[in-house]
Symmetry: C2
Subunit: 302 residues, 2 copies
């Protein structure tokens, strides 16, 4: 092949990537070349547009630090993360549906049921309770329920605004013999993803807002079941229809019920406004031996 | 849209990018989403493969500096740069064909015809001469002929190995009234593209070598003509059929003739081995007002 023209180059590149030792590398390389070239042929970029593409990727790389992953934001905002999530979680029957992990998960301490995980976050109190069961409606005891959420300005404890203040709005719980868990925290809010980088610039050029609807993250693991990574979204949030990362599923939307004073389900005497979220999760059995087992919790850890 | 599933998400993302103010942004965004999602659906990456993709892009970004553009290398080695070049240079008739600019062009001094541009590069002497004409075979006088090439170890003066030593193996010339130019330099060699980063890792996984066949870069500009960016490749180079950036075209391959002593075309008395490259370039008229005009050369600049 000594003549790489518009008509021959795609086949030439495909031929060149056909010699890799690993089947999977050959598959991915071939698909990448075919779809990438089809994109270029459709768009027919000018040389300055090609350069703008290179600059966009370079700028995206420059934005990545240990607390900011701009390529994941790009994947999220182009719907790729959610598509990969969907492909990897074709779950049976009524199992609780999954959504994206997001960039704000980190190891959290184990708390006893009923504990308050707000830490230094401020906002109206919220009581969260639920159960974990299997497809036969049998409770799953000892499941690890890992919860994390933003503060009521939309920032996680990991983000720069809070970074030095320590853990807040996150914790792990174990379900009891009835498969139940419960905790206190504060109510978060809908928030924009970090949009001061190239992804934010892209969103503005595409006429999009950078918001995610209000949600609480859950990661639930139990031996013999597939790991569940999901959110529970707040009913009536104005961004449910236009989540910038396309993470919403109808079955994951629940009321964050507003209460005024009275007695909370755990017997706590309340005064003023507070919220209550109840949700029951169903785990799918780990039939194919997927990595879904819960890590052994270190008892006594707080 | 409150239900982003494997079947609905592509349309949801397409809808979200349909509101941009600029037509071109809408076109490119739509094409990007369609082709990117088709790639993901075909490959069906596991979550760890998706993560490996994110890590690859992040590492590629980390490799970029003011003297290293890893995303351009990626574009080059996937055939994208050459495809974009081909799309942007659908040239009429017998015009000299184009190939990629590459990452090693920079402003070079203007020399008088016959000058030696080797600078601190070592290697066997090479005499390069040629002419610039139009489609009617009329000579183009005053065309700027910008030439650059590697040393005989495969490194350009811009690369780290030479960076502090100044300009070598590059210069600009003006064609005379007959449309001719000529110069002396040294003969370069085939060389690997920088392969100590993620692109090198990709090439090895794909079972590819990192070499480009030996070539000299030319950028030729004249008022009223389209700018020509091309190489002249050395005949019989072992990498002509497998150029890692797919830049070769049959009409751009020429003999680098070996000589032994005697008198060079410009009358210079030679001893020992030297090389001679002759090529005549044909420029396409700038019919559509493309940016192809030569910049005004500052006379007296060296």
């Amino acid at each position: 092949m000594r003549e790489f023209t518009e008509d021959t180059i795609t086949d030439a590149v495909l031929e060149s990537v056909s010699a890799g030792r690993e089947v999977r590398v050959r598959q991915v390389s071939s698909a990448l070349v075919r779809h990438l070239h089809a994109f270029i042929k459709e768009v027919a970029p000018s040389e300055s547009e090609w350069k703008a593409g290179i600059d966009f990727l370079t700028e995206t790389g420059r934005m990545c630090t240990d607390v900011r992953q701009e390529f994941i934001l790009l994947s999220d905002t182009l719907g790729v993360s959610m598509l990969v999530d969907a492909i990897n979680h074709r779950l049976p029957g009524t199992s609780t549906q999954t959504t994206v992990l997001g960039p704000f998960h980190t190891d959290a301490p184990l708390f006893g049921n009923g504990a308050d995980i707000r830490g230094h976050h401020t906002g109206p109190p919220m009581y969260i309770a639920g159960s974990v069961k299997n497809a036969d409606a049998a409770p799953i005891a000892g499941a690890t329920v890992d919860i994390w959420h933003a503060d009521n300005s939309g920032y996680y404890d990991l983000q720069n605004i809070h970074r030095s203040a320590g853990i807040a709005g996150r914790g792990r719980f174990l379900t009891d013999v009835r498969g139940h868990f419960n905790l206190w925290t504060i109510r978060p809010c809908s928030y924009p993803i970090p949009d001061d980088g190239p992804v934010g610039k892209m969103l503005r050029a595409q006429g999009r807002h950078p918001y995610r609807p209000e949600h609480i993250h859950f990661m639930i693991q139990a031996l013999g079941y597939r790991k569940l990574v999901t959110h529970i979204f707040a009913e009536n949030d104005e961004y449910l229809d236009s989540d910038v990362v396309f993470g919403v599923k109808a079955t994951l939307i629940r009321p964050y019920e507003e209460r005024d004073g009275g007695v909370a389900p755990d017997g706590r005497q309340m005064s003023g406004r507070w919220f209550e979220l109840q949700h029951d999760f169903e785990l799918a059995r780990d039939v194919e031996g997927q990595p879904g087992a819960a890590p052994v919790s270190r008892v006594g850890e707080t």
